[in-house]
């Protein structure tokens, strides 16, 4: 059973790696998706690996990661907005 979890984690991690390679080569804005990619795929792989190796309390770490991924994206978009010279308030 554990091997199956690890296999699934490996597959997901592999798709995340491919996705990262694709996204990071894209345009400036597209690169932001890298964080999102790790926020979903990364968390899935993390949960699987942790379950298979029985690390305690990983749900909390995953919760934290999910929050941080959103936080980082907001900060980056914020910067891009400022950069585009939005209608200054």
């Amino acid at each position: 059973m554990n091997e199956l979890l690890l296999a699934a984690a490996g597959l997901i991690l592999f798709t995340v790696a491919i996705g990262l390679a694709r996204v990071l080569r894209g345009s400036e804005v597209e690169r932001l998706m890298a964080v999102q990619l790790l926020g979903t795929g990364g968390i899935a792989a993390l949960l699987l690996i942790a379950n298979a190796t029985s690390v305690p309390g990983v749900e909390d770490v995953a919760l934290g990661l999910a929050l941080l991924a959103a936080f980082a994206t907001i900060a980056f978009v914020n910067l891009l907005d400022a950069d585009q010279g939005d209608a200054e308030a």
Binding site: L6, G10, L32, G57, D60, L65, F71, I74
Partner: protein
């Protein structure tokens, strides 16, 4: 034959490739995006080392908050591209640096490969000492942080406060006492405000939860405080809240609350239990949680202030 070693190697390669990307990226924005991704990936490595506490801290402080600090600074610097090309060092210099870096990395790697096996460890003694100091906490890491190294933990919180003082004092004289520049000049738009409104309460709940479970499971004041700090910054980015003026009483009280409470209780320990930072064993857990709660407050206040930077003269709006 297990799959795990292959997974580990894949993960290690991924971390190194993303790290190379952040160093090689052409502009600051790209490299900071890479750095945040790298922070999240590094959290995986720490999970594999059975260190979820460190994983969470690395992702939160090392990746997330540091990334936002750098990106905010980049925006304020107004230079998202590299400095003038003539500042680029020549090929010979680059080669030399590469060789030096490779040598350092190689030496470190060799040391790691040559570590004795089975390794010497003080872990049992340390854990016993942590227990002996009367900390009735289930999480050995929090127990160590709180009792075995009380001085260190407190001094490190002081480092945070000193850094806040340092950042504030870098501002101009005219701006002293004012508020740091807002995280965002333009008016926010609906989806961002929505996300901040939804995320912040959930995030605060999760932050407090992680602080609370920290006594028995991975988590603690650092991790919880970093998440709370991130949520405060989210509300400031959506302009649901503004950075406070640095001369507000409440802000300053929040900043010093953690170390102050720690110090007072430490001194009380001298009187009640006979030595500095000694707690009566029966009360150890409630006392430690009490101290940690104030630490949480101080960390949650200090991190956003560090990111927000010195007070700004143009703190209008």
């Amino acid at each position: 034959m297990s799959l795990l070693p292959y997974l580990d190697i894949g993960l290690a390669l991924l971390v190194v490739v993303v790290a190379v990307w952040t160093i090689a990226a052409r502009d600051l924005f790209t490299s900071v995006v890479g750095y945040v991704a790298y922070g999240l990936l590094l959290a995986f490595v720490w999970i594999r080392l059975y260190a979820p506490d460190v994983a969470l801290t690395e992702a939160a402080v090392g990746g997330g908050v540091t990334g936002v600090l750098l990106i905010t600074a980049g925006k304020r610097l107004g230079a998202r591209k590299n400095v003038a090309p003539e500042a680029q060092p020549g090929l010979a210099f680059r080669l030399l640096t590469g060789v030096l870096a490779a040598l350092v990395a190689g030496a470190l790697g060799a040391v790691i490969l040559m570590l004795p096996d089975p390794p010497p460890s003080l872990a049992p003694e340390a854990a016993a000492a942590a227990d002996g100091a009367g900390a009735g906490l289930g999480n050995p890491i929090t127990a160590v942080l709180m009792s075995y190294r009380s001085f260190d933990t407190m001094l490190e919180k002081m480092v945070l406060i000193l850094a806040v003082v340092g950042v504030w004092s870098v501002g101009t004289d005219k701006a002293w006492g004012g508020a740091p520049a807002p995280f965002r000049r333009p008016k926010p738009y609906a989806p961002m405000v929505f996300l901040a409104q939804m995320l912040a309460p959930v995030g605060v709940l999760i932050g407090i939860h992680i602080f609370w479970t920290g006594a028995n499971a991975p988590g603690g004041a650092f991790q919880g405080g970093a998440l709370l700090a991130a949520m405060w910054m989210v509300t400031m980015m959506a302009r649901l809240a503004e950075p406070p003026r640095i001369d507000t009483q409440r802000l300053r009280l929040a900043l010093v609350a953690g170390p102050a409470v720690f110090l007072i209780i430490g001194l009380a320990g001298k009187v009640v239990a006979g030595s500095f930072f000694a707690y009566p064993p029966a009360l150890a857990k409630p006392i430690i949680l009490f101290i940690e709660a104030f630490m949480l407050l101080s960390i949650a206040a200090a991190l956003p202030m560090l990111v927000a930077g010195p007070p700004s003269e143009r703190a209008d709006q």
